[in-house]
């Protein structure tokens, strides 16, 4: 008998914390937001080269029309998300602080779509082209161009991992995508698997989403998959199971070395919403122009998942769902563990955003920082087997040698250490500082 390529249980991973799930929106259907008065579409929503606008001020555009592209391979085109008129093209400061050339489109409210038809994909070449034309980037957070990821050059790929772990508290957008568009997810999986010739696919979902697991299993079992090469792998409910490196370890037992990519250990990891978006693009020809976001947190009146046109201002989204404006402490993109706190809600929603969490002032208040008591909790929860307390001390004395010895760069800033710290030390902040020190040093050397 051939040995199964699949392990029955996920492999053991190190560390991790158990967080409150707070996923109240998991069972409520997604609502669609009406087109806002205007959208702002930055010419860079991905890692890589920015696009150049291919529209002028005054142009009329339709939903799905390409408005920015670049010659460079490491780049992803941008499409109009509403129909209307281009009113401005100017630099805009985004949530992360980067200033990017941005196309502003005043919506005519009609959401007229550009003519589109199903895409035919017969081979790998066509798939890669379709992925790029779809405007797809890693929707889980990083915004890595998907067409680059799917073409790892001469590295041999034997496993495709679909990331539906969604281990951050509050967020349920991937979960809703699975439940509402399960056939899109699965047809996307089969398509990518076939085109890339991969014979082992894991769909990784945390155990706290039993319905999603059940739905996808049903399809996987009933599909024409004679070799049984697509499996749904329930992951332990522990943060950060959804982090790429941890996910690969869980499913395959392999560890991605520091500074390397999943392809270096034979894996491709795709976010579950990414694959669903791709499959819809192939089916309809309508590129990525809208995104489902979980709007959650104590200050939100109607907690729900909302589909918004890309480029919608966070302010408009919050006005749509309703926020108790008396008591807003913190607004952030993403979940509370790795999300970015916004200094202003006047920023556009990008492709890789999957939630807006609005905390009340009480929820946003972090405990007072006290002296480190050397308890070792940060060490035992670190999924990367690092020593955060020692890294913090090394950063404090700017000891780059110690930072290197302690593998500061392996840290992925998941926040488990800072979460678990009884002294409430700002460990992730310190990790970032430590990384910056090392980068600075290496820049000087190089």
């Amino acid at each position: 008998m051939k040995k199964s390529l699949f392990s029955e249980k996920p492999y053991r991973t190190d560390g991790g914390v158990s967080l409150p799930h707070l996923k109240e929106t998991a069972l409520s259907p997604t609502v669609k937001m009406p087109p806002p008065a205007y959208v702002r579409l930055p010419m860079q929503m991905h890692i890589g080269a920015p696009c150049a606008p291919c529209v002028k001020v005054g142009d009329k555009v339709l939903v799905g029309q390409k408005i920015g592209d670049s010659e460079k391979p490491f780049s992803v085109p941008i499409h109009a998300s509403v129909s209307g008129e281009v009113t401005d093209i100017a630099p805009l400061r985004l949530a992360g602080g980067a200033v990017v050339e941005t196309v502003v489109i005043a919506s005519d409210g009609e959401m007229r779509q550009i003519e589109h038809s199903p895409i035919s994909v017969e081979n790998e070449e066509e798939l890669i082209r379709a992925v790029r034309e779809c405007g797809l980037v890693g929707l889980g957070g990083a915004g890595f161009p998907t067409h680059i990821k799917l073409r790892p050059g001469d590295k041999k790929i034997d496993t495709l991992l679909i990331n539906g772990a969604e281990c951050e508290p509050y967020l349920t957008s991937d979960n809703r995508e699975i439940l509402e568009n399960s056939w899109d997810v699965m047809s996307g999986v089969y398509l990518v698997k076939k085109m890339l010739g991969i014979h082992r696919v894991f769909i990784c979902i945390e155990k706290n989403k039993p319905r999603a697991i059940e739905v996808l299993r049903k399809i996987a079992d009933s599909s024409v998959d004679y070799n049984d090469e697509v499996r749904v792998l329930p992951l332990p409910t522990s943060y950060p199971q959804g982090a790429e490196k941890v996910l690969i370890k869980s499913a395959t037992g392999r560890e991605v070395p520091e500074g390397k990519l999943p392809a270096d250990v034979g894996c491709i990891v795709m976010n579950i919403t990414s694959i669903s978006v791709l499959s819809r693009y192939i089916k309809t020809g309508m590129p990525l122009v809208s995104k489902r976001l979980t709007v959650e947190g104590g200050a939100v009146k109607n907690k729900q998942n909302v589909i918004v046109p890309l480029g919608t201002s966070v302010s408009d989204l919050l006005a749509f769902v309703g926020v108790s404006d008396e008591d807003v402490g913190k607004v952030m993109f993403g979940g509370p563990m790795m999300g970015v706190a916004l200094e202003s809600t006047d920023v556009p929603i990008l492709k890789n955003n999957n939630g807006v969490v609005v905390l009340t002032r009480k929820e946003a208040t972090l405990g007072k920082t006290t002296a480190c008591i050397h308890c070792g909790r940060c060490v035992s929860v670190c999924p990367m087997r690092l020593f955060p307390l020692r890294l913090e001390k090394a950063t404090e004395r700017k000891d780059t040698e110690a930072l290197e010895r302690l593998s500061q760069m392996t840290c992925m800033e998941c926040g488990s250490c800072a979460y678990a710290c009884p002294a409430k030390r700002p460990l992730v902040q310190s990790m970032r500082l430590g990384k910056a020190l090392l980068r600075e040093k290496n820049a000087k050397k190089g």
């Binding site: 053991r12 190190d14 914390v17 967080l19 409150p20 508290p169 370890k249 991605v256 070395p257 520091e258 302010s315 408009d316 006005a319 926020v323 404006d325 913190k330 952030m332 509370p336 563990m337 790795m338 970015v340 706190a341 916004l342 200094e343 202003s344 809600t345 006047d346 946003a364 972090l366 405990g367 920082t369 006290t370 002296a371 008591i373 308890c375 070792g376 909790r377 060490v379 999924p383 990367m384 087997r385 690092l386 020593f387 307390l389 020692r390 302690l406 593998s407 392996t410 800033e413 926040g415 800072a418 979460y419 678990a420 710290c421 009884p422 409430k424 700002p426 992730v428 902040q429 970032r432």
Partner: protein, 331 residues
Amino acid sequence: MHLCKCNRAMPLHCISKVYFGGTEIFMKLYVSSSPHLRAPITTRRVMGDVLIALLPCVVAGVLLYGFRSLLVVGLSTLFCVALEYLCSLVMKREQTIGDLSAAVTGVLLGLIMPVSVPIHLLFVGCVTAIVVVKQMLGGLGNNFVNPALTARIVMLVSFPTQMTAFTTAQMTDAVTTATPLAKDVAQTALWDLFVGRVGGCIGETCKIAILIGLVYLLARRVISPIIPVCYVGTAALFSLLVGASVPFHLLSGGLLFGAVFMATDYVTSPVSKGGRVLYAVLCGLLTMLIRLYANLPEGVSYAIVLMNIATPLIERIPFGKPFGKGGKSSV
């Protein structure tokens, strides 16, 4: 937009122009580094749990040695907290009595005193623990040796007579006659050792109370079982190898109390799993070496304090490799 940069650990406050449904309002948004969620655990809660775990020992001390033990433990706690308060004032440090660490030191110190300890000597011990060992070395988290144990050693060396004048437990006579079935004298002696009907320090003799405390600490995940298990295990193995009585060595003296409450002190023990194993094994080995081959009757305090001093060295040994660097999963 107006930004005001606060203290390093505090979030930035941003006054942001926010639009809600067309109306423009100003609101203050907190901006800070992720994560934006913290576990409910605090240093105070950890120390509170240790205090709760020590409660059975205090009760056992009172039952075995009378109300003076409560006086000793109470006064030592009071002294320690008061000294911590004064030190913070004098040294112009942030007031830290609220984190309960001084109270833990006080209770620990009280429990490792003989019940007859003169109060003025107890005060000297508290000064050593809090002022010299803890505060003069930088306060909580910076002392390299366990304050309570170091204070005991200082007292033992300075006032050997008073510190070793152990009163035998009051209940001895009453209870020995109540167990006529125990014919084997050695067995009776071991049972006495287990329940604490022997002379010794207030909190160290009743092993039942210590085990209750241990179970509580483990259940609340305040400590991991590594250090107590490796410490006691090594001591047992060593006595077995040299032909000494294993149960006698495990049940006598301060071994169990030291392994559960002293060697597990966060500040002065290693953080890595491998480091903890090495530390605890060496603690056990040193304890037995001192007990069997040195001129001292008891070696727990010295063994733990010596290993406290060696902890920074142990920490330099790289146990395990980070993710993706060839290491295997720890545990």
